[in-house]
């Protein structure tokens, strides 16, 4: 089945950046009421030379289906060291491209949960 390609299953079974960090600069949590999934994201920020803020470190935790966990795992890899303005601009299409699979509207919600949480953490 196309949805559960090897890299999706790999990120689901061995999620990257999974866990918690000491003293995060910000954190947020959201759940998907349809399936009871919950994702929490913690971030540590860093200000570079040009006063550009980037994500220095990111951790996520929670429970979810293969799509929401793999999406969160891939997202944490994608945004590490990315500047905040760019993270804020991430959209549905970026997540779909990142996953490389076709999603039904219901599953799209699973895939987008982690981005929603991350952007919520940044806007705190």
């Amino acid at each position: 089945m196309d949805l559960y390609r090897d890299n999706i299953l790999d990120h689901y079974k061995n999620p990257r950046n999974f866990g918690n960090m000491d003293k995060p600069d910000s954190l947020a949590e959201e759940s998907n009421p349809l399936c009871g999934d919950k994702i929490c994201i913690q971030i540590k920020l860093q200000t570079t030379n040009y006063k550009l803020q980037t994500i220095q470190d990111i951790k996520f935790s929670g429970v979810g289906c293969a799509i929401s966990i793999a999406s969160a795992s891939l997202l944490t890899e994608k945004v590490k060291n990315m500047d905040l303005a760019k993270v804020q601009r991430l959209k549905t299409k970026d997540i779909v491209d990142m996953l490389g699979i076709t999603l039904t509207p219901t599953r799209l919600k699973c895939a987008l949960l982690s981005l929603e949480v991350l952007q919520k953490a940044l806007n705190k």
Partner: protein
Amino acid sequence: MVNNPADIKKDFPIFKRQINGKPIIYLDSTASSLKPQQVLDAISDYYTQYPVNIFRGLYTLSEEATAKYEEVREKVARFIGADNGNTVVFVRNATEAINLVVYSWGRVNIGEGDEIVSTVMEHHANVVPWQSLALESGATLKYADIDEDGFLDLQSLESLITSNTKLVALAHVSNVLGTINPIKDIIRIIKKRNPSTKILIDAAQSVPHMKVNVKDLGCDFFAFSGHKMLGPTGVGVLWAKYDLLDAMVPFQMGGDMIKEVYLDHTEYQKPPHKFEAGTPDISAVLGLGAAIDYLSSLGMDKVRHHEKEITKYALDKLGKIKNILIYGPKDASDKGGVIAFTMKGLHPHDIAEILNEDNICIRSGHHCAMPLHTRLGIGSSSRASFYVYNTEEDVDKLVKGLEKANKIFKI
């Protein structure tokens, strides 16, 4: 003679449909049942033969429609063992029936210091309205627990009943665990401790699947939905003891529920019409009538027998899957045709997605019973449920689909 589900399937036009060249394996009747041609015909008859309003016209068409509508009320009464149609109120669904009781009875009879008792196995429809009532009235809402096998803990329930308990709201059959609660015994226990406590039964999962008799059960309020019993969406029923209905204030105000209207006051109709303001979903009520005829022709004892047999078969087959965990009673005699389960290493959402590839329709999530899932220590589960049209072959396809899911996830 037992009913043959393969023959029954032929009455349901949806089974003629294929998606991606494959037939539909429907295992989600607990959420909503499919509809036989007879029900669709009744709806179509209304819109083609007498598509007019009820209780208004003196012309033949309106009188026909009114008579058919009221005929269904009597049919419902007979189907659930009520004395007559005056105790049968048509609403949108079981949810609205419960809300009606909250508004028309609860708000008047429940106040500060009073207690409402429910259980952890309830559908949200039998939790949230009471929570809201408790909040606004200052009453306390308590919940009876379940035991490890998914049975209601009767001792826990009994201990919650005090002289302040105004109402106990509980399900006849759990929509997740499938547990059939011994309502008659439960009511006896409750009324022994406090005879004035009123009892509301959420019968959404029992009326479609087994013979029920409201008088024999001894409850005060009884709520169910049409769409779970082969009927259309848009119609449900609240049954209540007549003296309770008579003393209750109206639910919604408007046309049809009035006797006389003056600029400064209104005299209301008697029950049940007092609770049916405005034009109802007439075609849905007529469809419900046809659904009751269909179920009656099958025989409710036979309907239950078939579900018990197929549930037994499914419990046995599903139990052989290595990473499965089944919730609720393990004996089909103790449960309705619903099996909730989780599979280690597989999220319910992913299971449902993989099954959907073969048009196998099951539910994934918390099935409108979050407190129960919290009690079970899980966020979500998968749920397969059975009805008159399900065959052992459907169960075999489900098992095959679950094995396929294990294979895709390399479990």
